[in-house]
Chain length 506, copies 2
Amino acid sequence: MALLTDLYQVTMAYGYWRAGRHRAPAAAELLFRRCPFGGAFALGAGLAEALRFLRAFRFSAADIAYLRSVLPSTTEDAFFEYLCTVDASEVTVSSVPEGSVVFSRVPLLQVKGPLLVVQLLETTLLCLVSYASLVATNAARFRLLAGPATKLMEMGLRRAQGPDGGLSASKYSYIGGFDCTSNVLAGKLYGIPVQGTVAHSFIMSFTSLAEVEPRVLAPAAGGEPVDLPSLAESWLLRVCEVLQVSPGKVNRGELAAFVSYALSFPRNFQGLLDTYCVMRSGLPNFCAVALALNELGYRAIGVRLDSGDLAQQSKEIRRVFRACGARFQVPWFETISIAVSNDISERSLEDFIREGSEIDVLGIGTNLVTCPLQPSLGCVYKLVKVNDSPCLKLTEDEEKMTIPGVKRVYRLYDAAGHPFMDLMALEEEPSPSAGQELTVHVLGQNGEARKVKAATVEDLHRTYFRDGQVCAALPSLPQVRSHAQAALGRLSPAHRRLREPEPYPV
Amino acid sequence: MALLTDLYQVTMAYGYWRAGRHRAPAAAELLFRRCPFGGAFALGAGLAEALRFLRAFRFSAADIAYLRSVLPSTTEDAFFEYLCTVDASEVTVSSVPEGSVVFSRVPLLQVKGPLLVVQLLETTLLCLVSYASLVATNAARFRLLAGPATKLMEMGLRRAQGPDGGLSASKYSYIGGFDCTSNVLAGKLYGIPVQGTVAHSFIMSFTSLAEVEPRVLAPAAGGEPVDLPSLAESWLLRVCEVLQVSPGKVNRGELAAFVSYALSFPRNFQGLLDTYCVMRSGLPNFCAVALALNELGYRAIGVRLDSGDLAQQSKEIRRVFRACGARFQVPWFETISIAVSNDISERSLEDFIREGSEIDVLGIGTNLVTCPLQPSLGCVYKLVKVNDSPCLKLTEDEEKMTIPGVKRVYRLYDAAGHPFMDLMALEEEPSPSAGQELTVHVLGQNGEARKVKAATVEDLHRTYFRDGQVCAALPSLPQVRSHAQAALGRLSPAHRRLREPEPYPV
């Protein structure tokens, strides 16, 4: 993966090498300049993958041969020989723990080592951290909006930037607070819970009950197998009475598909309601099959809607579940889970909340995975020190200025436990302590000094990589997820707000 | 990669298997419902990767073990045994050639085979084709806007959805009409030309000319090596006179970086001008080094700008190149290539064209790779036939309706060689021929009939996969790129327009 970089990193490496500067001690920081999606926070993610990349960082003979073919013919042989020996064994990386809440302009990652190596790592580290952090943040926003009770399912594989984009999306959505994914490979690789039911194509592949085969199901408690299509058909008539729909208009292909699915998964029956008409076909068919299963001692687990006014329909469906539950004395019927999907965005979630809904599960794909509100975090990786000189870029564009020198980052918490400021100090400055009065300069406020006192001070960065090895224990994915949720929970409401939040001072 | 799918594909597969329908002959189509970015066309891409996936499609023992752990415990053993035997050997795939211009609602890919397999392929095929086609289309739009003369460079690796997203972006941008990429691995894997120069970090790592080492460069024609820093410094004084800037204010760290880079790449010297101030430092430094190189018989190749008003600056820079070329009698100086980058979008390209500019090379990253105007193509994959029954989804949402039956797709060209309509006919209908009067129904126009006559008729689809093997020759990447450019060139201007185009009838 060492070649997964921009060519200019290699041409610069040659420049450093020829100038004898390749081993100059250097330090770089990876940060983003603005919080994504108009919020005041982000989640830092991608660290574990970055560490895996660092451990394996090395140019193969084939890589070197390719580079020889690409660099100008004047490039000296000795440079390529040197490149063969390059790895990350002299690199030290410190970082916020994966899943931490982070703010703009505060380094997520600090990289120290020989100038040439620090430079060569830039693009790959950006690639591994940027999208990971972006989609984790996006997921966290969905979680904050949906509240803790609603189940969130990531289903964006088909909308991602290829296979690997899809896997990253599943993994980092989980960190951001999603509960499960539809992506089976992500489940296998990362241990994320996977979920899935049925698509319209399955429903459409049936045209009549006569196609259902096998037809019989034994009751859960054992006993004589029963012909499920007939049982469902008889329940359909009773359900149609309650719903006041005409049994003749209910699509029997759909009923056949539901029955067939129930025969395959009697303990996990779910229905996709909107292949034809939700209220006049999908819902009566589902209730009929669920009640037939109930008669045999099985409980259906849920329905899914993939079109139309999702909030409104969820309320109508819940009403029908209640009516059926009461009419047929099946109390659990009203608690059947209602899942919805179809281009769900932050905006639609806000609408659901405003209108009220009976939605239990949200399946989110495109708007989670592609982050259309801001499809790139715009992370940058800046040299802050070479030899003993701090690096400063003074450009016409104030936002693009860098803050020179190697920093330590402290998070200051107030008495209520909310973080209220991230403090950057040069490495050589003394650490602040709790209760101490600190004089700080808030970025973007013309360098005016301000005095603050923190109830608690947290040293944000830990050293994760040293001497070519990962030197800190890496938490499991569920631990990272819990860390993220806890950190989000500590944010003050003003900073957690998803739109027009108070800017977090740094 | 067989597990790179949504779980519901597997649960449905079980449903089909239990119902004894898994071997029912089925057909599915992959299409998109609306053209992306508000245009009237897209480029179809991803075919070669889809074929590679099909050839290898098979569940490993570990995959099966994982699926056993995920599916309900009632799932029959025999199903997993059957899954072990499943591959794509009975699948036939036809498609438009990769890089073809395609329109909404016309199938890009048709898949025929046993129902269970056709269903299992859905998510992965969508994942491989959707983003590929989207980014190729996005690239094609940039190419159409920029015109054929401007060089387009893809540099979005750090903004992509992880490593694989970055590689896909490089590959499919090239198909869409880009000339090169910064992504070295994409160059190695796909043979795409790679380009790159230098970043701000390189410039910032120098503080004075004293740091430059080694210092001497032999003239191109041979002879005594010359001290390049001194030569550049002396040229700087002369350049400052022409530019009327104060030599004292020119940043000598930047000069040192340029000289050092020129020593490394005397035949490929390029300067990044905006680390400090373009007009008062970057440009004079570049001209000084380029003129020093010229004295030794080398030609500088270009400059790059990464901030500020790019069009305006490009014109000022060209003026300076002309002035220096005239003043120092170096005629080629005025043709030095000017490259720009920094969040370039379709909108900024339109601005450049309106204002006029002297830009030769555009480096495009975020707005190419993440497709922020529409980050997902929204492809769908629909069953159109099972056994001998055409499948039709009748839903409340008219746009989500499918057109049943297996189709052939013909493209009709007018006498000027522009395609004016794509015609879908059922497989069993006779093929249309050139000059024949055809009665057609245009989609979305209430089924009204219309008569058309085509000067040329093209059968759009070819069979690419049969009996588990790729059965058609696959063109090389440059051939795919040429095919795409030729197809775009044949589009009538009304359909090629990027905004508010005439809808293309289907």
